[in-house]
């Protein structure tokens, strides 16, 4: 290839002033115009730092020491400021809600032009044109907060495209998106790549979801170094992913379980490119060798929801006539797209809101008359963002808070806190300040501070949102342990892996109604439910159909059972 690279890292290293060690070591990487590159790596691998070095947030906002060379379009980035860089490389940040600065779509798209002192008239004309490019022309006057997830993505993208940049950088575009919206986001990025011939960099750890569409190369980063730089087919056939804490595509895992050697010749980089011709028989045999396991839970019921209806404004129902029954010791997922009523349901259980109609029974007793505080004795709620719960400096004080507020004697508090911290694997940190903990550990602290009140039912809102594979597994294995102690666990989530791997049962809400209450394997293979709940068909189902296995749902269930067996 005789082309000149558009981005060139040459023995590039970077160290934050606040850190004792370098975050990026000796990076050598060339990216050519028009390429589409995926950069994967676990949390803390340095992939976001790499992105910050490219878009200029380093050293503009985050300070540190740079060595070696990083050139964009032949110019050394250290000689450019963040504003000059933003004219060559546009960044779409992960949290599209948090990055909207305009009150309407058109105004948000125009933000960069406002800062360039473009006249109001020209701005209106250009914003309309770019809105058309991303298919948002009819929604220019809408508020970004009223948009669907996909439309939000289009709006943020338009805000960057307005500058006619050559390179687009997507920093974790899938974090916080439900599976269906994530799929759309990847399609939008791909369309832009095809139509506009931009150079595209995607930083993400959800490999299989990005590989929904083609990419030229995947760069794997870990511990601040480039571990691999290969095409998707070679990558998923290698052991690089597993070794570096990145989840491999589920269909690849399934083939490995079936003792199939995955090779680049099978084109396994994407489910749609995969050639299963030679291995169909092996897959069928593996599937046949597994016997279905019954997942019935015959324990007495712990929580019964009867005919529950609720509306915030008295006009539009947020929940209507919800019914279900949870058994002691169950681990259940409540899924559905944003606004389906998931969070409202948990608020009703905790007594933050009162139902308009229907009843909530705890072990057969109606809890309508119980206050928030009284319900907290048996139902615990863990919020999604641990920073929204932590109010003390020391772990021990944070965990003890609920007990102190209940005037439990200090000596009892001490033993209870110690016990809970042990269960949560936080015992060595008991006297640590919370600020010294990682995100995952903070999450544990918030769970510990609820567990200390001895709830019999634990509700967690999006416990794994934004977590990489390792942290995800850590949190979920921990919850599994808690569950084994006899605590019933409800997970509000749209993480499909979580449903497949940890919650045998999923309750699906859409538009305030319960549309499914069945095994996760059934939910994730039912087209209608998938569509209504913004989920995505699991690639295992597609694999089954490619291999000529008639009962795809049972295949998915077999995979789950096999995986559980393998884990034990």
């Amino acid at each position: 290839m005789e082309k000149t690279p558009i981005i060139e890292f040459d023995h590039f290293s970077f160290q934050y002033y606040s850190q004792t060690e370098a975050t990026l070591h000796d990076i050598n990487l060339k990216i050519y115009p028009g390429e589409k590159i995926l950069i994967v790596g676990p949390s803390g691998s340095g992939k976001s730092t790499l992105g910050h070095c490219l878009n200029g947030l380093i050293p503009f906002y985050y300070k540190g020491n740079m060595e070696g060379s990083l050139k964009i379009k032949g110019r050394e980035t250290r000689d450019l400021d963040i504003f000059q860089l933003s004219k060559m490389l546009g960044t779409v940040l992960q949290d599209s809600d948090g990055q909207f600065v305009g009150l309407t779509v058109a105004e948000d798209i125009s933000f960069a032009m406002e800062n360039d002192c473009v006249t109001t008239a020209e701005m209106h004309e250009r914003a309309a044109r770019v809105a058309g490019m991303v298919g948002m022309e009819t929604l220019q006057a809408a508020s970004p907060y009223e948009l669907s997830g996909g439309q939000k993505q289009r709006t943020s993208l338009a805000g960057v495209l307005i500058d006619d940049v050559d390179i687009l950088l997507f920093d974790e575009p899938l974090a916080n998106l439900d599976p269906a919206t994530g799929k759309t986001a990847i399609e939008i990025i791909d369309d832009i790549h095809q139509q506009m011939k931009k150079t595209i960099l995607i930083i993400e750890h959800r490999l299989e979801d990005v590989l929904h569409r083609g990419v030229d190369r995947v760069i794997v980063i870990n511990d601040g170094r480039i571990i691999a730089d290969m095409n998707p087919h070679a990558l998923v056939s290698s052991d690089v992913l597993v070794k570096n804490g990145i989840r491999e595509p589920l269909y690849v895992t399934a083939m490995k379980y079936a003792d199939i050697k995955v090779t680049p010749e099978m084109k396994p980089g994407h489910i749609w490119s995969l050639q299963t011709g030679g291995v169909n028989e092996a897959l069928r045999q593996w599937n046949h060798s597994l016997t279905p396991i019954s997942h019935l839970n015959n324990n007495p019921s712990i929580l019964t929801i009867e005919n529950l209806s609720f509306s915030y404004d008295g006009v539009k129902p947020t929940l209507s006539t919800i019914d279900f029954d949870l058994h002691e010791g169950e681990m259940v997922a409540i899924v559905g797209k944003n606004g389906a009523g998931k969070s409202t349901l948990s608020k009703l259980m905790c007594g933050f809101e009162n139902p308009d109609k229907g009843r909530i029974l705890f072990k057969g007793q109606d809890i309508a008359s119980k206050s928030i505080k009284e319900r907290a004795e048996f139902i615990g709620l863990v919020m999604q963002n641990p920073n929204q719960m932590i109010s003390k400096n020391l772990i021990v004080d944070e965990v003890a808070l609920g007990l102190r507020l209940r005037h439990v004697p200090e000596d009892q508090i001490k033993s209870k806190v110690e016990k809970v911290l042990k269960v949560c694997g936080l015992a060595p940190f008991i006297d640590w300040p919370i600020s010294a903990l990682s995100y995952g550990q903070k999450k544990r602290v918030t769970i510990a501070s609820i567990l200390v009140l001895d709830p019999q039912l634990l509700i967690l809102d999006e416990p794994t949102a934004g977590q990489d594979y390792r942290h995800y597994s850590e949190i979920m294995e921990f919850l599994k342990e808690i569950n084994k102690l006899g605590i019933t666990v409800i997970l509000i989530t749209h993480d499909m892996h979580l449903m497949l791997e940890y919650t045998p049962r999923a309750i699906v809400l859409a538009g305030g109604q319960k549309i499914a209450d069945t095994a996760a394997s059934v939910v994730l293979t039912d087209r209608k439910v998938i569509e209504d709940a913004n989920l995505k068909e699991t690639s295992l189902f597609q694999l089954a159909s490619m291999a000529g296995i008639p009962d795809g749902t049972q295949f998915v269930q077999n995979f789950i059972d096999y995986e559980k067996g393998a884990a034990q």
Partner: protein, 277 residues
């Protein structure tokens, strides 16, 4: 949902259609007129005028209930304290002393004091509806462009409008955190002492501050990456040209201010209207 403080809703009314700059200028003109004058006639006229405007802009009582309540409490407390500290202020200003009743100690209720404090009460009370109208009918981005239009630095103007815009969000988060903390046993009702309640509210405010700081980092990065702060000035997508109605509104308010000043100079011979002469 709960009524939210300061949430802008678009409605197609005369007041909403005015440009943000016009509303800001009118607000400043009228406020200045009221602050300048201690003439109860002018003040009551403004009060009536602003209540009419409030109706015109279709602002619902539920939107402003909480705000009005806080302001009333503040005004009543202010009135009481003024009386306690300077019970003879009215006598000093108007130069006569008509006693209504002898209270306790050195405190005597006079017609002058009553009149003075009444004037002051309505003076503040008549500014409030104006402020409410301004905040609730002005699109926050237009607010920024209009502040910038009257000479405020665009960074300050933008920061102000961002704050207003995120207010409903912060309120929602506060509400969520407060509920979660109550579930842990936090008492936020009147069942505990004031001191304890203050301490308890810290347990909601601290997480609120930290989670808000996270958000600020996100928005700052997003703004930097799109060139905010690059130039000494910036233009605005939402900048409407002044129309006939805008000019008319500014003229009316200017006339109002001029009349107020004229009344003070030629009729009252000072800032105070004195009915006791």
């Amino acid at each position: 949902m709960k009524a939210r403080l300061f949430s802008y809703n678009y409605e197609d009314t005369l007041v909403h259609r005015l440009s943000g700059l016009t509303k800001l200028i009118c607000f400043l003109l009228l406020t200045f007129a009221i602050m300048f004058s201690y003439d109860i006639r002018v003040i009551l006229a403004t009060l009536v005028f602003s209540v009419i405007l409030l109706r015109l802009s279709r602002i619902r009582w539920s939107q402003i209930k909480l705000m009005v309540l806080y302001v009333l409490i503040f005004l009543v407390v202010n009135t009481l304290i003024t009386f306690l500290f300077s019970p003879e202020q009215g006598v000093e200003i108007y130069g006569t002393r008509n006693v209504i009743a002898k209270l306790f100690g050195r405190y005597t209720l006079t017609q002058e004091q009553l009149f003075y404090q009444g004037t002051k009460f309505f003076k503040y009370a008549s500014v409030i509806p104006l402020g409410i109208i301004f905040l609730l009918t002005t699109n926050p981005s237009e607010l920024a462009s209009s502040l910038n239009g009257v000479g405020v630095h665009y960074k300050a103007a933008f920061a102000f409008s961002l704050t207003l815009r995120y207010f409903p969000d912060v309120q929602r988060v506060y509400h969520d955190i407060s509920q979660a903390q109550q579930a842990r046993g936090l008492e936020m009702t009147r069942k505990t002492s004031v001191g304890q309640r203050f301490k308890n509210s810290l347990m909601v405010v601290i997480p609120l501050i930290f989670s808000t700081l996270d958000r600020i980092e996100v928005i700052t990065n997003a703004m930097d990456l799109r060139g905010f702060g690059k130039e000494k000035r910036r233009t605005w997508y939402n900048k409407s040209k002044l129309k006939a109605a805008d000019i008319a509104a500014i003229v009316v308010c200017t006339i109002f201010l001029v009349i107020t000043i004229l009344i003070s100079v030629f009729i009252n011979h000072g800032r105070f209207y004195n009915p006791f002469l």
